[in-house]
Subunit: 267 residues, 2 copies
C-alpha cells in the first residue's frame, strides 16, 4: 500500500486543516479493508516472532490523538495476531511527583524497547508539547525547546537500532462528540468517560495548533509521523497495520543461523 501518502515528509509545512479525518484514499471498501486487515494482523504475528528470534531491531510505536481517537482500539485490533508476550504497551498518564523531579524524557527513556521487542506508547513524551502546552503547565520557552530535545532523543534511540513509527490518530470534532455521547449513553462505557473530557474538548482548537506544530517540527527521517484519518476505525487499523508490517518487512530480518550439528537429545 502507498502508506506514504499519510506520512509527513521531514521539513514540510503542516496545515492540520488539510487532513480529512474521514478520508480513505488507500481503500474505499470497508469489507475489503477489514479482510486485508485480518491478513496483516496475522502477518504481524509472524514478523514479531522473527523480530524476537533475530534479536537485532527494537520497535517503538507511538500513538497520539485526542480523547476517543482510538488509541486503545488500535492496540487491540492491530496487535491482535501478536502474542501479548511479544508486545509491551505503556500508557503514560499524568506524571507522578517523583517523575516530575526529573527531565521530561526520563520516565519515557526507561520504557523504550530492547532488542527483539515491540513497545507501544499509548500517549508519550509528546504530551509534553501538547497537554503541557495547552494548559501552560510550563513556560513557553521551556516547552518550545522540547522539539529539538525530542528529535535528539529519538536520534539516539534510532542509532541504537530502534525503529520508530509515530501515528497521530486524527478524528473530527463531530466524531469525538458522537463517541463521547456513546460513553455517556452506554453504562458499560461509563468507566471510559472522564469528567475532564468535556473540558478538554473546549480546547480543541488549541490542541490542533499544538498537534500541527508537533507534526511539523518532529517528523524526521529516523522517526516519521503519520497522520491517520481515524473517523473510520477500520481504515485506521488497516493503515497503521500496513505501515508496521511494511516497515518490519523492509528490515530484511532472518532467523539466526545456529550450528546444532553436534546436539543429541538424550533418552
Amino acid at each position: 500500500m502507498k502508506t506514504n501518502v499519510h506520512r509527513i515528509e521531514p521539513g514540510s509545512k503542516v496545515h492540520i486543516d488539510d487532513f480529512d479525518p474521514d478520508a480513505t484514499p488507500l481503500c474505499d471498501d470497508k469489507s475489503e479493508g477489514k479482510e486485508k486487515s485480518a491478513a496483516i494482523e496475522e502477518r504481524l504475528g509472524e514478523l514479531q516472532e522473527l523480530l524476537y528470534a533475530e534479536h537485532v531491531h527494537k520497535i517503538l510505536i507511538v500513538l497520539q490523538g485526542m480523547d476517543t481517537s482510538g488509541k486503545d482500539g488500535t492496540v487491540r485490533h492491530v496487535m491482535s495476531g501478536v502474542s501479548p508476550a511479544g508486545v509491551r504497551v505503556v500508557s503514560f498518564k499524568a506524571p507522578a511527583p517523583s517523575e516530575l523531579d526529573h527531565d521530561f524524557l526520563w520516565r519515557v527513556h526507561a520504557k523504550t524497547p530492547g532488542n527483539g521487542e515491540i513497545a507501544v506508547f499509548n500517549r508519550s513524551h509528546y504530551e509534553d508539547v501538547l497537554v503541557v502546552r495547552v494548559h501552560e503547565l510550563v513556560k513557553e520557552k521551556v516547552w518550545r525547546k522540547r522539539y529539538e530535545q525530542i528529535n535528539n532523543f529519538e536520534k539516539t534511540l534510532a542509532a541504537a537500532g530502534t525503529v520508530i513509527l509515530k501515528f497521530f490518530l486524527h478524528i473530527s470534532k463531530a466524531e469525538q462528540r458522537k463517541r463521547l455521547q456513546e460513553r455517556i449513553d452506554d453504562p458499560t462505557k461509563h468507566w471510559k468517560f472522564q469528567h475532564g473530557d468535556i473540558e478538554e474538548r473546549k480546547l480543541w482548537d488549541d490542541y490542533m495548533r499544538a498537534y500541527e506544530e508537533m507534526l511539523e517540527k518532529t517528523s524526521t527521517k529516523h522517526a516519521p509521523w503519520y497522520v491517520i484519518p481515524s473517523d473510520a476505525k477500520w481504515y485506521r487499523n488497516l493503515v497503521i497495520g500496513s505501515v508496521i508490517v511494511e516497515t518490519l518487512e523492509s528490515l530484511g530480518m532472518e532467523y539466526p543461523k545456529v550450528d546444532l550439528s553436534g546436539e543429541v537429545v538424550g533418552k
Copy 2:
C-alpha cells in the same frame, strides 16, 4: 468444568508420578476442546475489560514447567482474545548481579500486578526453589526457608486484592525429547534451542523432586497450584483458559456506576 481435579489441595501429599502428563480427563475430543477454547479465549477478552473498568482486583498468573513445556504457547493461545494492553507478561531470566544484591523476592515484587491488571509470570520466584535447588546455587538451608517466605509473600499480595493462579505445565520426558528434536530439525526454531537445554534434561529427576516439593509446600488457599497435563497442547490451553475464566467470573465484577446525568457534550 471440574477444573479442581487438577488443583493441588493445600496440605495434601504430592507424588509427581501420580500425574499423567498425557491425561485429558475433562474433555476427550480434541476438536471439541479447541472449539471450547476459542469461546473461552473470547470470554476472557470481555472479562479483562470488565476487570480493568472495575479496577478492584489484581490478577497474577504464574507459569512454571520444564523447557518446551509450553509456557510461551500458553500465553500466545490463552491470551489471544485479550488486548496486549490488558496483560503484562514478565519473563524472568537468570538474575542480573544488581538483582542478586537483593533478596530473591525483590525483583519479583516489583513486577506484581496493580488494580485492574493481569500479569503473567513466565517463570517466577519459584525458580529460586527449582533451578537454584537443582544446581545448588545457594545452600539447602537457604532455599528450604523459601517455601515459607513465598507463602507469606503471596499472602500479602492476596490480602491486597491479588488473585493468584499458579500452573505447573507437566510434560513427559518423552514429549520433551520430541519437542527438543523439533527445534534442532527446524531452522526456524533453532533460536529457541539453548545449548544448556540438553544438559538440563539430564537433571530431569532432580527437577521432578524439586517440583514435587514445591507443589506440596506452596499450594495454598490464596494461591493454589494446578498441575496441568501438557503433552496435549490443546488440553493445556483448554484447562488453563477455563481456570482463569471461572476464577474471574467468580469475582462478581461489575461495571462501576458513575453518575453522568449532568454531562453534556458541547458542539
